[in-house]
């Protein structure tokens, strides 16, 4: 039995290209369509794609304890980032990086008029494990793959540290540390593995396991999405009109993310992009433009040289 891979954004309406020129344009733009690297199948000797697993992070439940950040560092043996004081509320790690795969964003939101109580925005950020992920597209060594849980995984014995994925990611997730604690690192790109090593043993990822308020929920993404929609509905019923889902259905150029969030404010307040681009769309056209200009200039050079032969 062949498992069907999820088609990104299957419900999105197809726009009919206008006319013959439109068709050529479309074909050029999609010269290199998004591609999954080989995903294991159920009959590949027991490592088949079982179910797509993911995270649902509910910021309304987050208390900012950073247990997830610590658990992630401990399980994955990630080094400390140093004792830095940023002055940004209780957040001293600033961002996700090659050595921080869970990052708790802290923000104290005070009312604009200065009246009444303020509120906390807290979000445990993580790799979004996009379907159609730009890091996976960009990886020139094939080190970044979709694993049997449908998540984006960097195979560090293949990674050669080129850093393309770091520039490709529109969420700023991947990192390549030059130095950690004054020591040179292995020079590879690193990010959340969604605890693949725990998952193969049937265990919950370290961050979700350690979360004391069930702000981080782990499970089959389809179940998580249903639960998340119900949660938003419940919150709306209770009068919290601000709650909405980020990345549950689609965000920017992307279809559903495998790690999605329930937010209460503008995405930029949590350092999430509003409408992240998929930079690999339309690369065929850009190749065509680049080769056309090169070929045109070369052809003109040939004409000039040939003209010399006739008249000279």
């Amino acid at each position: 039995m062949k498992l069907q891979l999820p088609i990104v954004n299957a419900q999105a309406p197809a726009v009919a290209p206008n006319g013959r020129l439109g068709q050529v344009w479309e074909e050029l733009a999609n010269t290199f369509p998004p591609q999954y690297t080989p995903v294991p199948q159920p009959d590949d000797g027991g490592v088949g794609l079982k179910q797509i697993m993911g995270f649902f992070t509910d910021t309304t439940l987050c208390i900012g304890c950073k247990a997830c950040e610590v658990a992630c560092k401990q399980w994955n043996q990630l080094p400390a980032d140093g004792l830095n004081f940023t002055g940004n509320s209780y957040d001293n790690t600033r961002q996700l990086s090659g050595t921080t795969w869970r990052h708790v964003a802290f923000k104290e939101k005070l009312p604009e008029d200065g009246q009444g109580p303020g509120r906390w925005l807290m979000l445990s950020d993580v790799c979004k494990h996009c379907q159609d992920a730009p890091c996976q597209h960009s990886c020139p060594t094939g080190a970044i793959i979709y694993n049997q849980f449908g998540d984006v995984y960097v195979q560090n014995d293949i990674c050669n540290g080129c850093g393309y994925c770091i520039s490709a990611c529109p969420f700023g997730v991947l990192g390549r540390a030059e130095q950690v604690n004054g020591q040179p690192t292995d020079g590879h790109a690193h990010k959340c593995t969604l605890c693949m090593d725990r998952q193969v043993e049937g265990m919950t990822p370290a961050c979700a396991k350690s979360c004391p308020t069930a702000s981080i929920q782990f499970g089959p993404v389809e179940e998580l999405r249903a639960a998340a929609r119900q949660r938003v509905k419940d919150l709306h019923d209770r009068g919290n009109d601000r709650a909405y889902l980020y990345g549950c259905d689609s965000v920017g150029d992307y279809g559903p993310l495998n790690a999605f969030f329930l937010l209460e404010d503008h995405p930029n307040e949590y350092n999430l992009p509003v409408d992240p681009p998929q930079p690999f769309r339309g690369q065929g056209l850009r190749y065509a433009a680049s080769l056309a200009v090169g070929a045109a200039l070369t052809a003109i050079a040939a004409l000039l040289l040939g003209g010399g032969r006739r008249h000279g």
């Binding site: 891979l5 088609i7 990104v8 999105a12 309406p13 290199f32 369509p33 998004p34 999954y36 690297t37 080989p38 294991p40 994955n76 043996q77 940023t86 923000k107 960009s138 694993n147 990674c159 050669n160 540290g161 080129c162 393309y164 520039s167 490709a168 990611c169 529109p170 690192t185 693949m196 193969v200 909405y244 150029d253 503008h266 930029n268 307040e269 949590y270 350092n271 992009p273 409408d275 681009p277 998929q278 930079p279 769309r281 690369q283 850009r286 190749y287 680049s290 080769l291 200009v293 090169g294 070929a295 200039l297 070369t298 050079a301 040939a302 004409l303 000039l304 040289l305 040939g306 010399g308």
Partner: protein
């Protein structure tokens, strides 16, 4: 080490726990053929439930930190872009001189072939030096993945370096043809000059050269970096710059060597015209680039790299102006050399500013927000 402290093993060398353990679930090689999925159409955005920022309210942001990570590419990559482009441009011009031109452009085709290989030789060390893990540079060559410009470019440059080497060997044998002692060398030259072989060589070599010239721009445009993201002008810009730097390098090399000693080689006037045309294309592409990037190009125009950006433009204009001034006699050659050198400097400054200001752009929180602002369509 102070009394009572313990040596933490991972401080010596950072090894994530997945590194040394053979992973039983490693997906390796083409066990299952890659499958293609239909590219997603842009979905219609639902009404955002959060308050939309207005011009009067402060921009929502997270402590004004950038969303994006800065690219890790440094001077090695900028230099590689320059050398690779120069090599490809010189190669294409050299082949055209032999194919379309006649014996009086022999100096052009000869010098172009030698320069193409000379500029190509530093490329692999530069690329390997840039990798975080230089031991594993060959991992690029373990897969064929044309969907990523870096992999396609690596394969192109491998193929192209073969063509460039062939060309240099052929030129060398031809240069020494009057003095060839051994019969084997003569036979080799005859084989290499075989019409069919040469036709195949050019049919593959010139497209590969154009690929090497332009893929670097496409590579940059396939990132989420505010400055480069999806910019269709980057590839053409780098292609045109490759042709212009190639022409300038050949012209300069001809002037520096004995053959160029004659003040007016016919090759010079051709190179001059090609160079001017390429410069005009470059300026057009740069204008298109800046227009497309809009506010996101501010790190290039006003950031730490702005001096190189402006240097590139000024050097290009100065090189063109020098060509227009009718110098005669003894001044003619030095002025031509100066113009070529200025053009080469412009090409280098262009790559340098473009690669390095990517870092500024990614670290600029405003630019990083702009690249992921909702767009129409």
């Amino acid at each position: 080490m102070a009394e009572g402290t313990r040596d933490v093993p991972y401080q010596a060398e950072w090894t994530p726990n997945l590194r040394h353990r053979p992973d039983p679930n490693r997906v390796n090689g083409p066990a299952v053929p890659a499958r293609t999925i239909a590219p997603a159409r842009r979905p219609t955005l639902p009404e955002a439930p959060y308050p939309q920022p207005t011009t009067t309210s402060p921009q929502p942001s997270y402590y004004d930190l950038s969303i994006l990570k800065a690219p890790v590419w440094k001077w090695q990559i900028a230099s590689y872009f320059f050398c690779g482009g120069l090599s490809a441009g010189a190669y294409a011009l050299s082949r055209m001189a032999e194919r379309a031109g006649d014996e009086k452009y022999r100096d052009l085709s000869r010098m172009g072939a030698y320069l193409a290989l000379a500029a190509l030789i530093p490329c692999p060390p530069l690329l390997i030096a840039d990798l975080g893990d230089p031991k594993r540079f060959h991992h690029m060559l373990r897969v064929w993945k044309p969907g990523t410009p870096m992999n396609l470019g690596t394969w192109s440059i491998v193929a192209y370096s073969g063509m460039a080497t062939y060309e240099v060997v052929r030129q060398y044998l031809q240069d020494r043809s009057d003095r060839i002692g051994s019969a084997q060398r003569g036979r080799l030259l005859k084989l290499m000059n075989n019409g069919v072989l040469l036709a195949i060589h050019d049919a593959a070599g010139v497209p590969f050269a154009l690929m090497v010239a332009g893929y670097t721009g496409v590579l940059l445009s396939c990132t989420s970096n505010p400055l480069w993201c999806k910019n269709p002008w980057l590839g053409p810009l780098f292609s045109a710059s490759a042709l212009s730097t190639g022409a300038e390098a050949i012209s300069l090399a001809l002037d520096c060597t004995a053959e160029g000693g004659q003040p007016q080689s016919p090759s010079h006037s051709i190179l001059r015209k090609v160079d001017t045309l390429a410069h005009l294309t470059e300026i057009g592409c740069l204008a298109g680039f800046l227009r497309f990037a809009g506010d996101k190009a501010r790190p290039l125009r006003q950031g730490s790299q702005s001096k190189y950006h402006h240097l590139s433009l000024r050097a290009m204009i100065a090189a063109e102006l020098l060509k227009l001034v009718p110098f005669g006699g003894a001044l003619r050659k030095p002025i031509r050399m100066l113009s070529s050198a200025l053009g080469l400097a412009a090409g280098f400054a262009l790559r340098w500013s473009m690669v390095h200001s990517g870092r500024d752009a990614a670290e600029d929180p405003h630019a990083a927000r702009l690249v992921s602002q909702p767009r129409e369509g």
